[in-house]
Amino acid sequence: MKKLINAPETVLDDALAGIAAAHPGLLSVDPVDRVITRAGGSRPGKVVLVSGGGSGHEPLHGGFVGTGMLDAACPGEVFTSPVPGQMLAAAKAVDGGAGTLFVVKNYTGDVLNFEMAAELAAEEGLSVETVLVDDDVAVQDSTWTAGRRGTGGTVFVEKIAGALAERGAPLAEVAGTARRVNAATRSFAVALTACTAPAAGKPGFDLPDDEIEVGVGIHGEPGRRREKLRPAREIVADMMAALLTDQPLTAGDQALVMVNGLGGTPLIELYVVYREVAAVLESRGVHIAANLVGDYVTSLDMAGVSITVCKAAPDLLDLWHAPVHTAALRWGM
């Protein structure tokens, strides 16, 4: 295993120390509770957004803490949901008396731990709402399964709901808008290589030099199926077909689009992919109102890309464009 780390056991604490050192004016890091909050403490009267999940997806979530987005993030061990105590500590650290929104990616571990945290928080008198993000169309949804995974759509949910909270909206409205964003958002990912979790020490799967995994998540697991590597245009066509079958976008629709690198894919390839994505949407008459091209929700060193498309109503777009200042997203300030 080749990584720039000190030891598999210390990756998370070392990275947290690095985040603290890199963003002193922006973020406060509690290394004991493992909580990242906006520098400056709680904001009375403002609904706060708290998210978290396993590490290995950087900049998610710590990189989205700041004005106009999250108030706190709690990173778990690599690919392991954080524990309820962390979530509670995060919620209490930033509570402004106006309620807390937990933004939770739909994984059994995240859901169970956030549920427990919500109970603990309620016992301490906080009013908590939870939004579950489940945007990954590679996974079939059904009441009999764990349901869809939460992946790239998390960025849209956190940005838009965060902007609304920043404007002073009440908890129910912030939670409702977060759920609207999630409902309007779909993602799909392919991997060219497996990633290597530090604790495992070797890649999660072997992939021949001419094959890709289609429909992967962000935890290094294999995808729904294996295919031959093909030109980007053909791969993107299939990904967009999966996205648009699940949620048709038609002429005149406005879209928010993210082409997201999974950690080991260089930007030049992401731009090649974006070009194909834009061409597909354009051919349908869909207007891309805003986009992100880069690494936002990663899977350690996995080479690959996810595409996220949100069918965005005007009020959501307006919130998207509102000022934001975090380590990973910044505009308007």
Partner: protein
Amino acid sequence: MDIALARTWVQAIAAAMDKHKDLLTQLDSAIGDADHGANMHRGFSAVAAELPRFEAKTAGGILARTGALLISVVGGASGPLYGTAFRSLGKALDAPRADPATFAEALAEGLDGVRRLGAAAEGDKTMIDAYAPALAAFRTSAASGGDLAEASAAAADAAEQGMRATVPMQARKGRASYLGARSVGHQDPGATSTALIFRALADTAAAAREAA
């Protein structure tokens, strides 16, 4: 089951997780996210380290504290699930010692806790596929007069059989479910750690009987 035995059991689990960490991670690597070994190891190492400071008047107290600590240090799916199992099991054991039949009902409470929280059923390819047959075997043995060592040995055997039976299953819960049909052919990591937990119980009970 008594306080001393509960402590020894928990320590034996910690030793087993330490020994089989890589196996669990490897299994989780195939159909999950390669952290089950680290999760179980982190959880039970913390329990083993705190164990001397667990003040309890009942075996249940030890096990409930174990569950609470698992919840607060493990994370992932297995943290809340095993945490709830041990907490429910512990809460149901509020006497200094319990005969096999009583312990069987406590084990049942643990399984119920997992079921309620995770909403998985037998055949979904989870820890329940080891836990449920283990509980059934324990009950049968206890009902026919088996002592803790005998009942636990039967439970451990059944858990291991259940664990192996997860191989051909297609997962419907947990991360492995994302793989759909590709989850078939792999042994479930959580069923494997459950089998380790019952085997640790059987070994502990056998050693205690020998010592007695």
